[in-house]
């Protein structure tokens, strides 16, 4: 099936998560081959996810782990 850009956008997230049917995947990929705009949207979204998965992006507060384990130790000592 010939997809337009809006169809592709609607499925970008499922496409990235590999939860589209093989037929739809093939249709999307055919569209991406000739559509630079959709390719760029897909790439940018994927890059945001790469950056999101980077532990340096979302960090724990400094000392969090130490304070947590100190509290746990007190909890254990109490019973």
């Amino acid at each position: 099936m010939e997809l337009n850009c809006k169809h592709v956008w609607a499925h970008i997230s499922d496409y990235i998560d590999d939860s589209v049917s093989p037929e739809l995947r093939a249709d999307i990929e055919r569209h991406l081959e000739h559509c630079e705009i959709c390719s760029a949207i897909l790439d940018s979204t994927r890059n945001i996810l790469v950056l999101t998965a980077d532990d340096r992006t979302f960090e724990l507060p400094v000392g969090f782990s130490q304070r947590l384990h100190e509290r746990l130790a007190r909890e254990m000592a109490a019973g």
């Binding site: 809006k6 956008w9 609607a10 970008i12 997230s13 499922d14 990235i16 998560d17 939860s19 630079e36 705009i37 390719s39 760029a40 949207i41 790439d43 940018s44 979204t45 994927r46 890059n47 945001i48 996810l49 790469v50 950056l51 999101t52 998965a53 980077d54 532990d55 340096r56 992006t57 979302f58 724990l60 507060p61 969090f64 782990s65 304070r67 947590l68 384990h69 509290r71 746990l72 130790a73 909890e75 254990m76």
Partner: protein, 210 residues
């Protein structure tokens, strides 16, 4: 991994049979996950740290209730979500009922921001501290329901079923909201990238998904 899974079960059994100090070891890989979950709900570091500590202490106290039908991480996330919601309720009693209301525009179709020069963005740009900060800000500005889904799925990397279970919504809702969350982030980060990234070719061919 199967081996890790077995070790974790054994670890839990040992904690329950009296080696309680092993709980330190059990919880270590999940500290970040619990914190991020609570943070996605309460939206400030102090409450997130308090809530995360409370959630983990609760998990310790009630470890015997964990039966192993669910994954330990899912059980823990559910506790963290509940802790976050309780904290929020205590802080904002007045606004409490707005939490579950559908927000305006949820049914509208979200469209991404078209861009043509994205492929010119070099790897160094993605490494930059400023870009990570822009992403943190963009996530913080997402409406609550989208931020929570995005946190569980894309920061903590829970699967759709685990996310649905932890938040008490159906799997289709998880997918729909995740899609919208990602499109909103794409939209809010594109201008930032376009204005701050110097052009250089040849980056995209080297990315792992190619």
């Amino acid at each position: 991994m199967a081996t890790e899974q077995r070790d974790e079960k054994a670890l839990i059994a040992r904690v329950l049979s009296g080696e309680k100090e092993l709980f330190h070891e059990l919880i270590r890989p999940y500290e970040r996950m619990v914190y991020m979950t609570v943070f996605s709900i309460v939206k400030n570091e102090t409450d997130a740290e308090d809530g995360a500590q409370d959630a983990i202490v609760n998990a310790y106290r009630h470890l015997s209730k964990f039966r192993g039908e669910a994954k330990f991480s899912t059980w823990l996330t559910t506790i963290a979500v509940n802790e976050g919601r309780q904290k929020l309720r205590r802080h904002k009693r007045a606004k409490e009922d707005s939490l579950d209301e559908p927000i305006a525009g949820e049914e509208e179709q979200f469209t991404p921001a078209p861009l043509t020069d994205w492929k010119e963005i070099p790897l160094e740009a993605l490494e930059r501290k400023a870009l990570r900060e822009a992403l943190r800000n963009a996530v913080a500005e997402l409406p609550d329901i989208y931020r929570q889904i995005f946190t569980l799925r894309d920061i903590e990397e829970l699967n759709v079923a685990e996310t649905a279970a932890a938040l008490g919504i159906n799997e289709n809702m998880v997918k729909v909201r995740l899609h919208r969350a990602r499109m909103m982030l794409q939209k809010s980060l594109v201008p930032f990238l376009k204005t701050t990234a110097p052009a250089r070719k040849g980056f995209w061919g080297r990315m792992p998904w190619n």
